[in-house]
């Protein structure tokens, strides 16, 4: 018995063209593609048939002893829309986002990057106690945030500040939380980067890893019951995916048919632990089918790929009440946090490669330039302006309450 991986092309009604390829693990005798009631129906019990009657699996018999070989040499392929130079590869996959939206994507990523630099320095200067940068992963944040509705509930881990940035969380409140000052709506109770915003539907971050995963599933279940037409998105890293809570969340989401997007940022490291020491299977995307979850792997440094996958997952999660798993491959360019010096466990060359050759911000900039929507002068002006915004944010930007 061979395990065949079939690509199912999914049609988007308002486009009429094939869109994101969603990979589904398919076995002979399987009862079709995932749908909203994936119960295994028991076959009519008949002792004359030599077919399996077990309630636990829908499968044929085989009389040849053969173990399934996990396929890690040629894993689930990585969906991308742009090449590393920001050029669209397959025009039919181009989401054709309007200029304002793409500029918003770009400005969110760069503003986040600027804020990261300044706050990292603030920690080094002793102004704040701790900080975590998002270098290299900005694409995963804004690409996914742009594909959601503003009221979709977000459960994050700690490296998703770009989602809040895209939702226009005021700079002053980011920094108030990091400084733990009187303006912090979290009342200065947590370490820096543990943001939360009720108005923007971003649940307050907590330090224990992966605890948000089953919680996000519960929230999605409640949203389904309320007929809210809302999806819940749950972010986590490939390290947190090793936690028991991740397994619990995946299984619950599938069995209870919850409209949730599991978004895994696979950035290669969990502090100092590389992925080779985190798992032996084919990453996190390959786990999804094991739970009965529609899954895809995307290039996390390609905002359009992230956008397309999240958009389609959102549409179907809400329409069909089923979970989706997106594994966004990316790279953590910065240290784990201000308490970490990653030169202790990885080479500077490796980091430089990603910073220079495959960065989500550069790739989008190339795209913007090729579209004629951006130029060097605007780049210079924006860099200056974003530094100014971070250094002297306007007070009361949230309008009195989050």
């Amino acid at each position: 018995m061979a395990v065949a991986i079939a690509a199912a092309r999914v049609w988007r009604p308002n486009r009429g063209l094939s869109q994101a390829a969603l990979l589904l693990l398919w076995r002979p005798g399987a009862r079709g593609l995932a749908r909203s009631h994936p119960h295994r129906q028991q076959q009519q019990f008949s002792s004359l048939d030599d077919k399996p009657q077990f309630p636990g699996a829908s499968a044929e018999f085989i009389d040849k002893l053969e173990f399934i070989q996990p396929n890690v040499i040629s894993g689930i392929p990585i969906y991308r829309v742009m090449d590393r130079q920001g050029q669209i590869i397959n025009p039919s996959e181009d989401p054709h986002l309007p200029k304002e939206k793409v500029l918003k994507l770009y400005k969110s990523m760069t503003l986040l990057n600027t804020m990261d630099r300044i706050l990292y320095e603030s920690q080094r200067q002793g102004r704040i106690s701790f900080y975590m940068t998002n270098y290299g992963e900005e694409g995963t944040h804004v690409g996914s945030a742009a594909a959601l509705d503003n009221t979709d509930l977000v459960f994050g881990q700690y490296r998703e500040a770009g989602v809040l940035m895209y939702r226009d969380y005021p700079l002053e409140l980011f920094m108030a939380q990091c400084y733990g000052n009187i303006s912090d709506l979290g009342k200065g109770r947590q370490m820096p980067v543990h943001y939360g915003c009720k108005e923007r539907h971003f649940v307050t971050i907590s330090s224990p890893l992966a605890t948000q995963i089953p919680q996000a599933v519960g929230a999605a279940y409640a949203a389904k019951r309320a007929n809210a037409n809302r999806v819940v998105i749950c972010y986590f890293g490939e390290g947190a995916a090793s936690e028991g809570d991740a397994h619990a969340g995946f299984n619950f989401a599938a069995t209870l048919e919850c409209p949730i997007i599991f978004f895994c940022r696979n950035n290669g490291y969990a502090i100092s632990t590389p992925t080779s020491e985190q798992y032996r299977g084919d990453g996190i995307a390959a786990r999804g089918p094991g739970y009965g979850i529609m899954s895809i792997r995307v290039d996390g440094n390609d905002v359009f790929a992230v956008y397309n996958a999240t958009r389609e997952a959102r549409r179907r999660a809400v329409a069909e009440n089923q979970p989706f798993l997106i594994e966004a491959m990316t790279y953590r360019i910065g240290h784990h946090s201000t308490s970490d010096d990653s030169s202790a466990y990885r080479s500077v060359d490796e980091v430089n490669y990603w910073d220079k050759q495959d960065h989500p911000i550069s790739r989008l900039r190339h795209y913007l330039l090729s579209q004629g929507w951006w130029d060097e002068e605007q780049e210079k002006a924006w860099r200056k302006q974003s530094r100014k915004k971070v250094r002297a944010p306007r007070p009361g930007g949230c309008g009195g309450g989050c």
Binding site: L185, T211, R225
Partner: protein, 367 residues
Amino acid sequence: MAVVAAAAGWLLRLRAAGAEGHWRRFRGVGLARGFLHPSATVEDAAQRRQVAHFTFQPDPEPREYGQTQKMNLFQSVTSALDNSLAKDPTAVIFGEDVAFGGVFRCTVGLRDKYGKDRVFNTPLCEQGIVGFGIGIAVTGATAIAEIQFADYIFPAFDQIVNEAAKYRYRSGDLFNCGSLTIRSPWGCVGHGALYHSQSPEAFFAHCPGIKVVIPRSPFQAKGLLLSCIEDKNPCIFFEPKILYRAAAEQVPIEPYNIPLSQAEVIQEGSDVTLVAWGTQVHVIREVASMAKEKLGVSCEVIDLRTIIPWDVDTVCKSVIKTGRLLISHEAPLTGGFASEISSTVQMFNYAICCVELPLYGKPCSIL
């Protein structure tokens, strides 16, 4: 687990008769009798089988809540859940095996009445059950989670202590999971051994941000459970499993609330304060009557009801009156909740006694 529960049910049906919980009849020496008869030799005690027992003592029929019906503990729980689901359209009940009625029959009939989207099974994963419940509560809906035995609550400990208890505080009240209630069968049942008998309330007592409640009877259970469900903080409601069938009394059909964090003085006395919760309340009630009968000692019996936040005032006031305190619980002694009560009372009463000794003239001592 279900087999044990089924066996438990069978045994309890055989042994329990009416309101009395005598499930073994031996001429043996209970621990209480051993204490009251110091003349019994060590050899005698060793030869006689040491068996504890209790007799469930029903409370008088409540008059102020309308029509009542004879219910045992699991039926009173069902009644509370029924009232909650009727009143609150967002309320859902979930956990292992709750759909068919639960291994202790606490959710019988609810799925048929309220629908499979409101009363449903989850996969076998306690950390998932509690995490999922927190998520439902974060959206504002009412989540009533069941952990099949308190012995299995530990995988959910991280979600309870690190997440549920701290949700409101850490977010500066932007988010909370106050509408979460976790119910779980608790305590000795006789044959449960290590993993179907535990009383883990002390582990949770060390955690600010949650409430832990333990009823002694069906009437108490329904009122306290309804208060837990309506409380704006995540609550853990431990149900003494031996009382599921052994305890039956008149319970109001309509919903009613018994306040949390209020201990109840079940019996007034003057010589010693006895504090307990859950099943043990009935044991110390019996001890109180034996003490009265055999020693002429007048005991004040207090049912603590809420473990945290516990009713310090009622207990301390009582100890000021009697001057003596005895706390009895099923859980292990070291770090058990009695240690918290006794140290608080000693601190409180020591201060009172030191200041006011000349006025009261009565020494304080803790047994």
